[in-house]
């Protein structure tokens, strides 16, 4: 039986292609980085509000209680936490730590196991439950 040939996949194959978990971590690392870059002005504006004066700090608190802001900040919080956890994993891989297939898979799951609960904690903080 001839071996199946492996080729680059076309966009149409994306729905059928099962990305291995390290690939998921990697593409989310890229997406989260891009998201943080695109929303950099928003983050700077919030930073400005938080430091300018007590009044502007109160405006920030008020602004962050709107649902749309909360959801946006939650997305950016997730992006930062995922980017941070996946980034630490990439730094360790660069040091040739955990490059075996099984170790790389385990550390990929570990990235989610750390970043997702931290994102949930951040959500509790955002929604005033913490």
């Amino acid at each position: 039986m001839p071996r199946s040939q492996i080729r680059n996949i076309a966009p149409g194959d994306l729905a059928n292609y099962r990305l291995p978990i390290p690939g998921v971590v990697s593409i989310f690392h890229r997406l989260s980085g891009l998201l943080l870059f695109l929303f950099l002005p928003l983050l700077l504006w919030l930073f400005d509000l938080s430091l300018s004066s007590e009044q502007s700090f109160d405006r920030l608190v008020h602004f962050s209680q709107a649902w749309t802001t909360r959801l946006l900040l939650l997305a950016l919080g997730w992006a930062l936490l995922h980017h941070l956890c996946a980034g630490v994993r990439f730094l360790l891989l660069d040091l040739h730590l955990g490059t075996e297939r099984m170790a790389a898979r385990r550390s990929s799951w570990l990235v989610f196991a750390v970043s997702v609960p931290l994102t949930l904690l951040f959500a509790l903080f955002l929604f005033g439950l913490l």
Binding site: L40, L44, L51
Partner: protein, 118 residues
């Protein structure tokens, strides 16, 4: 540099510098996040006084400046890599590169202005 039998590597040599720069700037940002986190933990509560108190001392302003610089360099390399991977037309890619650089410089200037107004 000979690798293997007779292979000679040539090129512009900025690849290694950028690769290393992105990793060093990542370490700077992790260190900065830890410092801010510890300062806030020491303050014990999160209100305007404790938050602005973290950024009031000049050494912290300078550290924040360095972190901003590291962030801009880090984001520049990362976003540039995204454009290089997905945007093939040279003119469009160049325009995106220039826009990314200008945008990051704008944000860097803004962060200076924010920090020194506290």
């Amino acid at each position: 540099m000979a690798i293997g039998s007779r292979r000679v590597l040539v090129g512009a040599h900025y690849g290694l510098r950028d690769w290393l720069g992105q990793r060093i700037s990542a370490l700077v940002l992790i260190a900065f996040l830890l410092v801010v986190g510890c300062s806030l933990a020491l303050a014990g509560r999160l209100d305007y006084d404790s938050w602005s108190g973290v950024f009031a001392p000049v050494p912290m302003k300078l550290a924040t400046m360095m972190a901003s610089l590291a962030l801009c360099y880090h984001a520049w390399i990362g976003v540039r890599d995204i454009w290089m991977d997905y945007v093939k037309p040279a003119g469009l890619r160049l325009a995106l590169h220039v826009a990314t650089l200008l945008w990051l410089l704008y944000c860097l200037g803004w962060s200076v202005q924010i920090l020194w107004s506290v």
